[in-house]
Structures are given as C-alpha cells and as structure tokens.
C-alpha cells in the first residue's frame, strides 16, 4: 500500500523541480556591502532633508553624518569568497535518493495499515454482517489491533451475537486493559449474558473503570447500576447524583439518569 504510483509521481515531480534549479540556479548575488552602502546612502539623504527643512541643527547634522560614515566603515569589510562549482548530477542523484528513501521511510512509520474505502463510505454504508466479515479479515493480518477488536465486539453486540462479542472484547482487553470505553462495553456484554445483572467479572470491570476515571459520567452511571444491583441504594444515589452534577443541563442522557435516580429514591422511600 505504501508504494503507490501516486507517491512515486509526487517524488519524481519534487526531484525534477529541484534538478531544474540545480542546473539553472536562482540568480541573486547581492552582497552585504552593496546593501549596506545603499541603505547608508539613503540614511544620509534623509538626514540632509531633515537638515534642509530645519528639523535638526547643524551640529547634530555633522554628528549624525559622521555616525553614518563610521557605521558604514565598520560594516564594509567583507571580501567575497571564491565560488566553488559543483557537479549537478552527483547532487541530483543524492537529492532524489534522499527524497525517495526518507519520505517512504517516514510514511511507512505513519501510514495506516489498512485504508478504508472512503468512496463506499460516501455512497452506501456496509451492512453489519459485511462490516463484521471485513473486520475479521483485517484481524487475521493484524490480530492485536485494539480498535478493530473493540469495533468487532461492538458490531457483534449489534447483531445479538453476545458470546462472540465477549470473546472479541476479551482479546481487546488483553491488548489494552485500561480503555474506559472497552471496560464499559465489555461489562455490558457480560451483564447481557447474566440477565442484565452486573456481578462477578462485569462488576470488577466497572470498578476498574471507576478507579481509572472517577469523574466520567458514563462510568458513574454504570457504577450506580452495579450498586443498585447489590441493593446498595445509597451508593447508587451517590453515583448518579455526582453524574448529574457533572453533566451539563442540556446533556441528552440526563433524563435517563434522572429517571433511574427517581426510581431508586422511590424504592428507598418504600
């Protein structure tokens, strides 16, 4: 994938461009002395105008003029060095090799291993089963791609294949055990196999997520559910009240937590 004809073309265009300028260099040979003489001449002309228009007095004019002369004298000491000619072909070869090798080397470190078909994304979306198949094919080549494993688990949950999704999440968990989103999805998949109850491993996963990010609204929501399932109503109320406190008023999930909280509060009253 890394070596495509477009990239080769880009490297060739770049190399030809530089080669052209090695054979026909941009002409600019203004020396420091030429520039300093021109600037100080102009400063002297400005000084004379100021003097003639009465902005400065004679003594100041003399002093300023001698300053300009001494400044220029101190600056005029460069002697142009002799130019050494080069062999353009040798340098062009070096440049072409540098551009080609370095660019492909850097790109190989940065490029994605698989490029999604963006054209397809713009026209027709893949069906869920096609997505799962594509992910499974990709994972044969890249068995430790965390994002792909997590995505596969999510897609399998979407098709109701909970057992497979737990396997996928388990593999993703082995690659990265500290991803909050994975911990919540993984716990939810296990709970789905336990009639929606969070205990055992699903509870451990939520507790781990809570220890990693005690301020996350989603984590607090799930921690509340775990507490409620363990009949720790005060704990559940505490987590949900904290989640509501952290949530902006306009948050779309606010109603869900408010509803859960009122249910638990009612239970507590009863």
């Amino acid at each position: 994938m890394i070596l495509s004809w477009q990239f080769i073309l880009m490297i060739v265009i770049s190399s030809l461009f530089l080669a052209w300028f090695l054979y026909r260099p941009v002409k600019s040979n203004l020396s420091d002395d030429d520039s300093n003489i021109a600037i100080n001449k102009q400063r002297q002309a400005e000084l004379e105008i100021d003097f003639n228009q009465g902005h400065i007095e004679s003594a100041q004019y003399q002093e300023a003029e001698s300053e300009i002369i001494s400044t220029l004298a101190s600056e005029l000491k460069s002697s142009p060095a002799k130019n050494i000619t080069i062999e353009p072909l040798k340098w062009i070869t070096l440049i072409v090799l540098s551009i080609g090798i370095l660019s492909l080397l850097v790109y190989s470190q940065l490029a994605p291993k698989i490029i999604p078909n963006s054209d397809a994304a713009l026209t027709e979306p893949l069906s869920m089963s096609e997505s799962i198949q594509k992910l499974q094919d990709y994972l044969i080549e890249n068995p430790n791609d965390f994002q792909a494993l997590k995505m596969l688990g999510l897609a399998q949950v979407g098709t109701g294949n909970i057992d497979s999704s737990i396997e996928s999440f388990e593999r993703a968990f082995e690659v990265n055990p500290n991803d909050i989103d994975l911990l919540l999805q993984f716990a939810s998949a296990i709970a789905a196999n336990q009639n929606g109850m969070f205990y055992g491993k699903s509870q451990t996963l939520i507790e781990k997520a809570l220890s990693l990010d005690p301020q996350s609204i989603q984590v607090l929501y799930f921690a509340g559910i775990v507490s409620a399932h363990q009949s720790d109503l005060d704990g559940a109320i505490g987590y949900w009240q904290k989640a509501l406190y952290l949530m902006p008023d306009s948050h779309p999930d606010r109603n869900i937590i408010e509803e859960a909280l009122s249910t638990v509060l009612n239970l507590q009253v009863k």
């Binding site: 477009q6 990239f7 880009m10 770049s14 461009f17 530089l18 052209w20 300028f21 090695l22 260099p25 941009v26 002409k27 600019s28 040979n29 203004l30 020396s31 420091d32 030429d34 520039s35 300093n36 003489i37 021109a38 600037i39 102009q42 400005e46 105008i49 902005h55 400065i56 100041q60 300023a64 300053e67 400044t71 101190s74 600056e75 460069s78 060095a81 130019n83 000619t85 080069i86 353009p88 340098w91 440049i95 540098s98 551009i99 660019s103 850097v106 790109y107 940065l110 490029a111 994605p112 490029i115 999604p116 963006s118 713009l122 594509k134 994002q147 792909a148 995505m151 902006p248 306009s250």
Partner: protein, 635 residues
C-alpha cells in the same frame, strides 16, 4: 487515496524542510553557491506540498469524508458550507495544519519579496524558517495527524463546536496565526544575523517591515477575536482577560515594543541588543501561547485540544528555541556592544520609555496568567486571576505610555531641549486643558471617562499639530509618518472606546412578559414575544424586541436561543450598531407563561474599540510599505 496523498504531501514537506536545513547550509559553508541558492526552490516546493495537503483536508470536509477521523469528529452533513471550510481549523489537528500552512506562506513571501536583502543573509533566514517548519511538521505528523483514518467510517459526523459556527471565528484564527507565525520572520532575521555575526544596517533595515506586517496581522486577529467574543458569547463583553486571550496579547505587547525598538536601531544604531532580545522574546511568547493552549494546562473557552504528549513536544520545542537563541545571543553579544549615544531628552529616550512600559505590562500579564498555574502545580491551591487584577495593574502602566506617544514624535533624535519643546507646544497644552475642562462641564464627571477623554484629546491634538507642522514646512508625508499617526490615533480611539463603554455602559438582566416595555438609557425596549425557529443544523427560539426612541421605532431586534445536535445551547445576541452606541439584546431562559429572561445592554462607543484596533493595524501596514524599504542596491 486522496487522503493518503494529503498525508504523503505533509511527509514530503517534512523531507523538504530537512533538505532546506542541510543543502543550502553546505552551500554557504563550502561556498558552493549552486547549493546555497537552492533555498528558494526548496521553500517553494515545501510550501506547495503543504498547500496540497491543506486543500485535500478542506476537500475532505466539503465532501463529508467521514472516513477521516478529524472530519468525522468536527463536521456533519448538515453543517453550512462556510463552516465546513472553517471547520478545517476548528480543532487541534487542523489548526496546527493551518499554522504550518501560514508559516509556509510567510516563508514563501520572504523568499519572493526580499530581493533587496543580501543573498547570503536571505539564504540563512530561509534556512532558519525551514528549521522552524521542520519542528512544527514533526509535531503535526507524529502527534496530531489530521489525516488519520477510521476503519469503519460513520454514516454521519459529529458536531463542530457551535461557538465556532460563526463568520468571526472563520476569519479570526487565520488572521491571528498570520500574526503569531509572522513573528517567526523577525526571529529568523535575528538568528540568521547572529549566526553570521553580522548585525549590520541591512539586517536592521529589512527586519522592520516584516515585524510591522506580522504585528499588523496580530492586531487584526486580536481585534476580530474581541469582536467575536462581544457578539457571540452573549455577555456583551469585549475582553475577558481569559488566559488564552492573554496568550495572544503577550506576543502583541512584545511585538509593539519590537517595532518601536527597531525604529531606533534602524535610524540611530542604538538598542541593538535589546532589539535582538525582543525579536527572540516575541516568537518565544508565540510558542508559549501555543504551549498553553495545546498542552491542556489551561482550561478556557479556547482549550479545545488537550493532550500531555503534545504539550511535552511544544515545551521541548520551546526550550530548544529559547535556549538555543539565548546561547547564540550570549556567544555573539560582543558584536552588539556598539551603540550611538543619545541625550536624556531625545526621541530615543521616548522610545525607551515606551519599551520599558510595554515590557512591564507584559510581565504583569504573564504573572497574572501563569501564577494560578504555578500554584496549582505546586499543590498550593486553586486560584483564579481575573479582570480586577489585570485592570488594577495593567491600566496604570499604560496611561503614561499614551501620554508619551503624543509628545515624543515632536522630540528630536539624539538630543533636544525642554525649552524648545515647551515653546513649540505650550499654547497647545493650554488649549488641550481647556477642552478637558469643557468636557468636565458639559459631558461627564466620571473621573475615568474624563481621563480617557483627556488622553484622546491629548493624542488627537498633538497629531493635528504634527500634521499641520509638516504642511507648514512642506515636508513629505511618508508612509512611515502616516502609519505612525494613524496607529497613534488608533490607540487614542481604542482608549476612549474601552473606557466609555466600561464606565458608562448599562446592563440589565430582567424578566419580560409579552408587551412589557423597559426604558434603558432613553430607549424603550418592547418585548413582542418568542417563536420557535429552525434553520440548517439547529433549532431553537427567536425573540422579537422593538426599540423606540422618542416614540419612534428605531430598531427591531431578533435575539436567538439555539440548540445544536449536541444539545449545547447557544445565545445569539441581536445588536443595533452605530458608531456612538450599540443596543444589545440577548435571550436568557424561558420563565413561567410567555415570559423570558432578557439581557439588555447599552454600550456607548463600543465600536471605537475595534475601530481603534483596525487603525493600529492599518498604521502598521502603512509603515511597512514606506519608500525606504524599497531602496535598490546595485551589485
């Protein structure tokens, strides 16, 4: 594949920046002019590939290519086309690409418009700019890749931050970046001159126009940001001393000092060491600003990108730039010892006072910005430093600065006498005193407003005298002179606008029922009710308020309350603008029945704030195109 081409273009740009650092350096060191003169083609090629990647990213936004993570995170199909284009710089990765793109634009501009600069100096300047590009391209490619793909693209993207869905925000960041990044040019001039060990007239002459242009862009960027905050945030304020605002204001203060210091160095050969330090300081503060915003150490309305890895990279870059520059400065400082003498009363002294005041103001802002961070880092508690601190310490420092800017253009270079100056201006001072007294009698007794009116009259009167003196002596009106008077008048206009609107503005946060009327500053605001409203990618409510003056309707204001997909509520103020006052209305919350809470502001002279800012920028542009920057040298 287009996205991969964009990504690969950035990689090629990185390689070109490496070649730009190496090949011409070999050419300069070994006197191989064919290699040394590769700087320009290398700069053009690097700029071309950066432009290609920028265009490809913009195309991805316009084509709703949600296979690109950055596009999926910051745009959706419902977003209006203007905001799809501006969403390119709506979050971290894209704004960094914009930064790199702007840097390449500046570098190309230097390569094209610097025919009068000695070729060896120019080559070295372009090499230094290439090194800066290299740092930012590394940062972009290795920590903030805008071309990252999503394995399974979503059908619909997320929401661009609603605060950024606004014309002001579409143009504010590019302008600000032109200023921020533009400060890299005077920095590159200084570093190139230090490396060569030739801090001569050429270097001083050619640094100034670039410093002026970047300062002008920075001024426009800050002014646009202030204007946007005023009408978009719904609070009616124009400056909040937000840490990120301060991050852009600090380089502005240094750049202001730099353009003044450069004028002394250029004209009189004085302050050379100081000028070098200011050029280094200006760019370093730009990088510090980038660090504060990108690292996540600050939390503000601007902190849309927070990542410790990115912060660490910029911090490292900052250390290399500041540390390397200061080491170079120490090594070459003996070349900067020579300075022409000047008397206590001279224009040089005036510009020195200007510099001292600006740098003192800079340190007060820096202290107020960093102090809460330092306390937090040392676990000494969380504090917030806000407007009361900044107003108390910043304003008193700037008042003598405004007084001085009117007087010192009359003072001669090198040496002047108090008697000449007073005999020239004393009658005018009597006139100014009488005008201030008149303002006290007929306008206001608010002491702050009187001080501002006094400063305005002081500056405006002196500008008139300066112009009339030039006309009398039949002197030429150079662009440099015109630029100076426009910018100084801009300071006076800004000072008056800021003080009057702060001191005499009226703010009311009230409950209004349908048909109810409120009188504020002589205007009757009649609340006609609120209707549901849906447009493009949001829905919400639109209010209807009629404004009457002397029983005659003068405006119909339609403030909005918008709810975007993310559920984030946005207040869109409705403003009846004029040069003398703004009538500003924002919808609050729906209350019982048909009543709503409404914020009504009367803002006298508020437009003068931005008018002043634009005048300062215009003055800088004028000064940058002065005739003496087009002097032709023959080889």
């Amino acid at each position: 594949m287009l996205i991969e081409i964009g990504h690969f273009s950035l990689v090629l740009a990185l390689i070109f920046s490496v070649l730009l650092m190496i090949l011409p350096s070999i050419g300069l060191y070994q006197n191989k002019s064919a290699l040394a003169q590769l700087t320009k083609p290398l700069v053009w090629a690097q700029g071309f590939w950066i432009a290609v990647s920028f265009i490809i990213l913009m195309n991805a936004f316009l084509a709703n290519d949600f296979s690109v993570k950055y596009v999926a995170d910051n745009s959706n199909t419902q977003l209006p086309i203007l905001f799809k284009a501006s969403a390119v710089w709506g979050a971290h990765e894209g704004s960094l690409l914009l930064w790199v793109f702007v840097l390449s634009v500046w570098t190309i501009a230097v390569s094209i418009f610097s025919k009068r600069i000695p070729s060896n100096l120019l080559n070295l300047i372009l090499i230094v700019l290439g090194a800066i590009s290299f740092g930012f391209l590394l940062f972009l490619l290795f920590t903030s890749n805008p071309f990252e793909r999503i394995l399974i693209p979503p059908l619909e993207g997320r929401e661009l931050n609603p605060l950024l869905q606004d014309f002001g925000l579409a143009v504010h960041p590019p302008m600000l970046y032109m200023g921020y990044v533009g400060l890299a040019v005077p920095f590159a001039f200084v570093i190139a001159a230090l490396i060569r060990g030739k801090l001569d007239s050429s270097w001083l002459r050619w640094t100034r126009p670039w410093a002026l242009i970047s300062w002008a862009f920075l001024t426009v960027g800050i002014t646009l940001g202030s204007w946007w905050a005023y009408y978009e945030l719904g609070w009616g304020g124009w400056w909040f001393w937000d840490p990120v605002e301060n991050a852009s204001f600090m380089p502005w203060l240094v750049a202001t000092a730099l353009v003044h210091s450069l004028s002394v160095s250029e004209k009189r050969g004085a302050f050379r060491q100081w000028t070098v330090l200011l050029a280094i300081g200006g760019f370093s503060l730009s990088l510090l600003g980038a660090f504060l915003v990108r690292s996540g150490v600050l939390t503000s309305v601007h902190a849309f990108a927070t990542d410790p890895t990115r912060g660490l990279f910029i911090l490292l870059f900052l250390f290399i730039v500041i540390g390397g520059s200061l080491i170079l400065f120490t090594w070459r400082s003996h070349l900067l010892q020579k300075s022409n003498q000047f008397a206590l009363l001279s224009r040089e002294t005036g510009l020195l006072i200007n510099n001292i005041l600006l740098i003192t103001a800079l340190f007060t802002v820096l202290l107020g910005t960093l102090y809460p961070l330092i306390l937090d880092t040392l676990n000494l508690g969380k504090i917030s430093v806000g407007a009361p601190y900044f107003n108390a310490v910043f304003v008193p420092i700037m008042i003598p600065g405004v007084l001085a800017l009117a007087i010192f253009p009359f003072v001669r270079w090198k040496k002047d006498s108090v008697s000449r100056l007073t005999s020239l201006l004393r009658l005018n001072w009597i006139g100014i005193a009488l005008l201030i007294l008149l303002a006290r009698v007929v306008m206001t007794d608010n002491i702050y407003v009187l001080i501002a009116i006094g400063l305005f009259i002081w500056v405006a009167f002196h500008v008139i005298i300066l112009v009339s003196k030039r006309i009398r002596t039949k002197s030429k009106f150079s662009f440099a002179f015109l630029g100076m008077i426009i910018a100084h008048l801009g300071i006076a206009v800004f000072t008056l606008g800021a003080t009057v609107t702060t001191q005499l503005g009226i703010e009311k946060d009230i409950k209004m029922d349908v048909g109810e009327s409120q009188n504020i500053a002589g205007y009757d605001f009649v609340f006609n009710g609120v209707k549901p409203h849906t447009k493009d990618n949001y829905s919400g409510f639109i209010g209807d308020i009629s404004v009457y003056s002397d029983a005659k309707q003068i405006a119909q204001l339609k403030p909005e309350k918008r709810y975007y997909q993310s559920g984030m509520p946005m207040t869109e103020a409705s403003i009846d603008p004029s040069l003398t006052r703004d009538l500003y209305v924002a919808l609050g919350e729906s209350l019982e029945g048909d009543a709503w809470s409404v914020r009504i502001y009367y803002k006298p002279l508020v437009r003068w704030i931005w008018l002043g800012g634009l005048m300062i920028a215009l003055g800088a542009f004028f000064a940058a195109i002065d005739r003496r920057y087009f002097v032709r040298a023959k080889s």
